[in-house]
């Protein structure tokens, strides 16, 4: 049984041997996920294309100069998402949005408890026109909550999200909870506003 090479191995083959097929596989595996992540962050296809493209071009430059370090403990996906996230923050967020850096206290996290946001959201997602409502609601969220949610939806675990966003783990946990709570309330309002 053949085992597909992992992303880091593909990146190394591209870097060390100039193996274009390896890069094409790597690109095909990750390009949609990266694009969707930036799209959730920005809500803008043009921005998502730009940031995604810049991240990939940076990856290629890195390989060309032999600078990719496969020994790093981060996965290739984390590496790629971090690169795109930082690019987006530098190019767009700092210019147009204020980035709050305060973290929520442990008390805040505890008082959030095991809320019913998940149940409520699942129910709301069953309604019609969900996609556009969710996209609009996502952009009502503060950037810090939106990026945590975008990464979490992408399948990234909270500890990795803390690494990517350079935020303490408990802050990431609370941001996710607040994001889900706010998303639920925004979707509820959106549903009520739609005429029957």
């Amino acid at each position: 049984m053949s085992v597909d090479p992992d992303d880091k191995s593909l990146m190394l083959r591209f870097q060390e041997e100039g193996d274009l097929r390896a890069f094409e596989t790597l690109f095909a595996r990750n390009k949609d996920a990266l694009f969707r992540f930036v799209l959730r962050l920005s809500g803008n296809t043009t921005v998502a294309e730009d940031v995604s493209q810049q991240a990939w071009l940076r990856i290629i430059e890195l390989a060309e100069s032999g600078g990719f370090n496969a020994a790093s403990s981060a996965t290739f996906q984390t590496f790629l998402l971090t690169m795109a996230r930082n690019r987006y923050v530098d190019e767009y967020v700092r210019r147009h949005e204020s980035v709050r850096t305060e973290s929520l206290s442990g008390h805040d996290v505890e008082t959030l408890g095991e809320s019913d946001e998940a149940n409520e959201l699942i129910e709301l997602l069953d309604r019609e026109h969900t996609r556009s409502r969710v996209h609009s609601a996502l952009h009502e969220l503060p950037f810090e909550q939106r990026e945590v949610l975008a990464l979490w939806v992408q399948g990234i675990e909270l500890r990795e999200i803390a690494r990517i966003t350079r935020a303490p783990w408990h802050t990431v946990v609370s941001r996710k909870k607040y994001a889900l709570r706010k998303l639920a309330s925004l979707l509820k309002v959106a549903v009520q506003e739609v005429p029957p």
């Binding site: 060390e16 100039g18 274009l20 071009l57 430059e61 060309e64």
Partner: protein, 143 residues
Amino acid sequence: MNRDEELRRRLQSLGDEQPSASHDTLVLERAQRAAQSVRTRGATQPAPRRWVWPASLAASLLLGMLAMRLIDVTHYGAVTGAPLVIPADAARGTTGHSIPVEQAKADDWYRYIQELVAAGETREAERHLRRFNELHPDYAYQP
């Protein structure tokens, strides 16, 4: 599947967007140029191979050994040519004469080699040890 996971999956399923063809083309064209550049660099400047470092180390050691051998031959030729003996006080049961190593007991000879090492007579000790290993390949020292 817990509710959290289900929610994640549901939110994930809302996104099926893909980057445009021009996005992909630009990235792949740049990758093609980079791959070509890496291959060209590889052809003109071979990347360091795993065996280069150990091989150069081995070559240095070999040169060092040859140099030492040359010094032995030029400066210690007389010594190297001399028959190997151990002095009477090192060999038990002898009558006051040095004896050829071939006639000495292995333990006595080995102790004498240790004394040579302790006295800093390393070259002589090496000569003895080499011969000792030839004559007593299975010797195990028991203090």
